[in-house]
């Protein structure tokens, strides 16, 4: 029902592409991250909860929406969005054609996130899953544990009159951290300019988050010395950082689970906070969908496909896509922040 094309995953019976990376007539979007929501298509459809952030990303696009769970007839198929728990408005796409049900997960996580609706398992025959962190080394600690670590790090730096710069994704991660710190922050939080607009979109959506100020041009040194500053990775090593002398820097990402990755980039601290499913969650999610066939996209797709086929007896395959997930964060940091301006 869904095939790989040069533009992306294509549903012929429904006449639409899912998260296409080349311009198409009709794009159905799982979420607004840069590797899933590309500009240039004639028409976009996304979950209603994701409209605000998608418009922020694609201001000139023609966007239609549907609430989670509502069925739309497109061509020969029924299409509906279901929460993916990845970022605000992220959705799995359910497609039914003559009783055959497919679900394309987009990116998803199973850990609770105060900024978005929790992942909803959807029964299907074929499940298209991401595999960003599909290796058993990727097993997440509870969010509370990680937030405690961030808090302790911030407090320790504050005691030394040192700013804490926490690099994180502009859409999703930054707001999730602010929401987790809501009612817990005991110092000032600042946001890099590139994060400001997206965070405002989250606030407009009515989400409770710790208050934060925007870093302005004249702000530097003393003014920021004790604060927590959230910034996109692309700001690292730039002139912008000069305003934060003696800063301790950390990176919030599932990639930080592996010590070598953190050390290669010489971050002082790595906080293992991911918006993707970890290994146990990928396995349990696949089981909950009841799917007999699993197609795996970006990340450690070969490993997940082989494991599911060998140990669960599922029919599996991999799909070649241009999605990057969190693994692309380190290399695509630059494009990420420019598209967020």
């Amino acid at each position: 029902m869904i095939v790989e094309t040069s533009a992306g995953l294509f549903c012929e019976a429904g006449g639409f592409h899912i998260d296409p990376w080349l311009p198409v007539d009709r794009a159905v979007i799982t979420h607004a991250h840069g590797d899933h929501a590309h500009a240039g298509s004639a028409a976009y459809l996304c979950a209603a909860a994701g409209e605000r952030v998608l418009r922020r990303r694609l201001p000139d696009a023609h966007i239609e929406t549907a609430p989670y769970g509502q069925r739309l007839r497109m061509g020969d198929v029924d299409v509906s969005f279901h929460p993916a728990g990845h970022v605000l408005g992220s959705a799995q796409i359910r497609i039914e054609h003559h009783g055959d049900v497919w679900v394309a997960s987009g990116d998803y996580k199973r850990a609770p996130d105060p900024t978005c609706a929790p992942f909803e398992p959807v029964r299907c025959n074929t499940f298209i899953t991401e595999a960003t962190f599909a290796l058993p080394v990727y097993t997440w600690d509870s969010t509370a544990t990680v937030i405690d670590e961030i808090h302790a790090w911030w407090r320790g730096n504050r005691a030394e009159d040192r700013p804490s710069v926490l690099f994180c994704y502009v859409l999703g991660k930054a707001q999730r951290i602010l929401a987790e710190l809501h009612d817990r922050a005991d110092g000032s939080i600042y946001l890099h300019g590139a994060m400001w607009a997206m965070t405002e979109s989250y606030r407009e959506a009515g989400l409770a988050m710790a208050s934060a100020e925007r870093v302005t041009d004249e702000m530097r040194g003393k003014a920021l010395a004790q604060s927590l500053v959230l910034a996109p990775l692309s700001a690292r090593g730039t002139r912008w950082m000069k305003r934060l002398p003696r800063a301790s820097d950390g990176f919030a990402s599932g990639l930080m689970r592996v010590r070598g990755v953190r050390r290669q980039r010489a971050f002082d601290r790595g906080f293992v906070l991911s918006d993707h499913a970890d290994w146990p969650a990928l396995l349990s999610t696949v089981a909950e969908t009841g799917a007999s066939r699993v197609l795996v996209t970006h990340g450690w797709s070969d490993a997940l496909a082989r494991y599911l086929s060998e140990t669960r007896g599922l029919e599996t395959g991999t799909l070649k896509t241009a999605y990057e997930g969190e693994a692309g964060e380190l290399t695509s940091a630059a494009s990420e922040s420019s598209s967020a301006q």
């Binding site: 058993p136 097993t139 070598g260």
Partner: protein
């Protein structure tokens, strides 16, 4: 163990030298003396030997997690660290009863070392109990101790500075006392902490007669030699390409230490025999060199000797060695490292003749320009260039710029094509940074060198992304890539080899330049490389 794990994490979490020294010094001050001794042991790269076979740790991990071998291998190729992979994947297994928090010493002496005399089943039960009873951080450190790959990005000099700070001593004294073999204990820690027994830091402070001095190392010369001033103020020697070593004659015995602080006396019996003619209380700094027919043999010949444990007599004939003496550090039992080089050299000339232990001759070309001409003979002579030493220099500790320089010949270069890539180790495990390069031979690319270093982080990222998009085939972690990217490689030496498909072996290959301007078809040929062999 918790305290030691906290130290490990503190060191791991900062790139600041001062913060690392502060964390180390605090540990040395606050931990029990025996723990401080064991921590010093591990942090200076020493390891416990013959504990548990790595393969067994791997098997037990497989049993506990029920993950297939290939999946754990994928994990290893993504994380690049055996001890860490085990620590991480065990998070998928339910924890057992928590282990009590014992000291590092109790762990090492009462738990880990007894594994040496425990059978495999007993080892298995112990290790699994520890794994499931320790939190992840301590589990990781335990694995590091078990596998002996204890690296935390702390240089030995930092440990020495921190120790000196903690015990109120001088780094030079601490450095001397950490050389050679010693057994960690509270008593040992008290010995290294004892005040210096003479005003001159040195061998009077040695704990054991086998103990070598810290080596003094030359820095690469980056400016023109003329910037060093008057030629007459400098002693110039050939830079031999062998094993830098210290020859110790004390208490009627002989010890030969490599710069990596390996005891290599019994690998080179002829040097040990010749050293018995030295007066007691003598320590010489020099180079072990495979030497035949009045010229050095390639370094690979020496490697054969190091590797050989048996039939030494036979290989002694085919690969004879000499010890070229550079310097004398101890004379008649007195540490003379603070004397000027010129005076030490005079002592040396009196002491050694032209036998197996012989003087490294001075190169006498009178001006820098003359020297530059003579330097061109380096390859012909089988040496790597010159070592320049200021005649008034004392014998220092470690690599200190200013008094000793190495002025090496320019490397050989070759333009080669990237043909394979695989993930690096440790901090480079997430990136494809181990490259294999080929040159043309009869219309195909023949692998000639593996290289890991020379690219900037930005170039590594760019190449990593390119490789992922241009992978032709995968064999486990190795990717065969489209033969497109050309790199200028530099290397120090080239020799015929029967172990390599290409028939040649190059020494210290590294990437000098990414030749984006050069099409792969214009890369060098195997024949052009073969012509470099003398």
């Amino acid at each position: 163990m918790r305290r030691f794990t906290d130290l490990y994490e503190a060191l791991d979490r900062t790139t600041s030298t001062n913060a690392k020294i502060a964390a180390l010094a605090a540990y040395f001050r606050e931990a029990p003396a025996a723990d401080a001794a064991w921590a010093t042991f591990f942090l200076t790269g020493r390891r416990l030997k013959r504990l548990v076979p790595s393969a067994a740790l791997w098997t037990w991990t497989q049993e506990l997690t029920a993950f297939p071998d290939w999946l754990l291998r994928e994990c290893y190729s993504s994380a690049g660290d055996f001890a860490e992979v085990i620590a991480l994947v065990l998070d998928t297994v339910a924890a057992a009863e928590a282990e009590p928090d014992l000291t590092l010493t109790a762990w090492v002496e009462h738990r880990i070392l007894p594994l040496q005399s425990t059978d495999l089943t007993g080892q298995r039960d112990e290790v699994i109990r520890w794994w499931l009873g320790l939190p992840r951080g301590q589990r990781f450190v335990l694995n590091k101790l078990l596998t002996g790959e204890f690296r935390v990005g702390v240089a030995q000099t930092l440990v020495i500075r921190a120790l000196a700070e903690a015990i109120g001593s001088e780094p030079t004294i601490v450095a001397a006392r950490l050389m050679g073999d010693w057994t960690p204990s509270a008593e040992w820690f008290a010995t290294i902490s004892a005040p210096a027994s003479s005003s001159v830091p040195g061998m009077a402070d040695a704990i054991d007669p086998s103990q070598p001095y810290p080596f003094y190392l030359a820095s690469p010369l980056e400016e023109a030699p003329e910037t060093l001033g008057d030629r007459a103020g400098w002693l110039v020697e050939w830079k031999w390409d062998g094993i830098r070593a210290q020859l110790i004659r004390r208490s009627g015995q002989v010890w030969l230490w490599s710069r990596g602080e390996e005891l290599i006396t019994n690998r080179f019996p002829e040097i040990a025999a010749a050293a018995t003619h030295l007066p007691d209380g003598t320590v010489l700094d020099g180079e072990v060199l495979a030497f035949k027919d009045d010229r050095p043999m390639p370094f690979s010949a020496l490697q054969h000797r190091i590797g050989r444990q048996r039939q030494v007599a036979q290989i002694m004939r085919t690969v004879p060695v000499v010890f070229f003496v550079y310097d004398i550090l101890e004379r008649q039992g007195a540490d003379i490292r603070q004397e000027p080089l010129s005076a030490r050299r005079t002592s040396l000339v009196d002491l050694v003749g032209g036998g197996v232990v012989r003087l490294s001759e001075e190169v006498t070309a009178p001006t820098w320009t003359d020297l530059a001409h003579v330097r061109l003979e380096s390859r012909e002579r089988g040496v790597e260039g010159f070592i320049l030493k200021r005649r008034d220099s004392t014998y220092g500790v470690g690599r200190r710029k200013g008094a000793w320089w190495k002025w090496k010949v320019d490397p050989f270069t070759v333009d080669a094509v990237l043909i394979y890539a695989q993930p690096g180790n440790g901090r480079r495990a997430s990136l494809l940074t181990d490259y294999t390069f080929g040159v043309w031979h009869e219309g195909a690319l023949v692998p000639v060198a593996k290289a890991y270093s020379g690219l900037s982080n930005a170039e590594i990222d760019e190449l990593d992304a390119w490789i992922r998009r241009h992978t032709r085939e995968r064999h486990g972690p190795v990717r065969a890539v489209d033969p497109v990217q050309v790199f200028e490689l530099g290397f120090e030496a080239i020799a015929p080899s029967t172990r390599h498909k290409s028939g040649i072996a190059v020494r210290f290959p590294r990437m000098l330049r990414w030749r984006k301007d050069k099409p792969a078809a214009e890369a060098d040929t195997l024949n052009s490389l073969r012509r470099l062999i003398r």
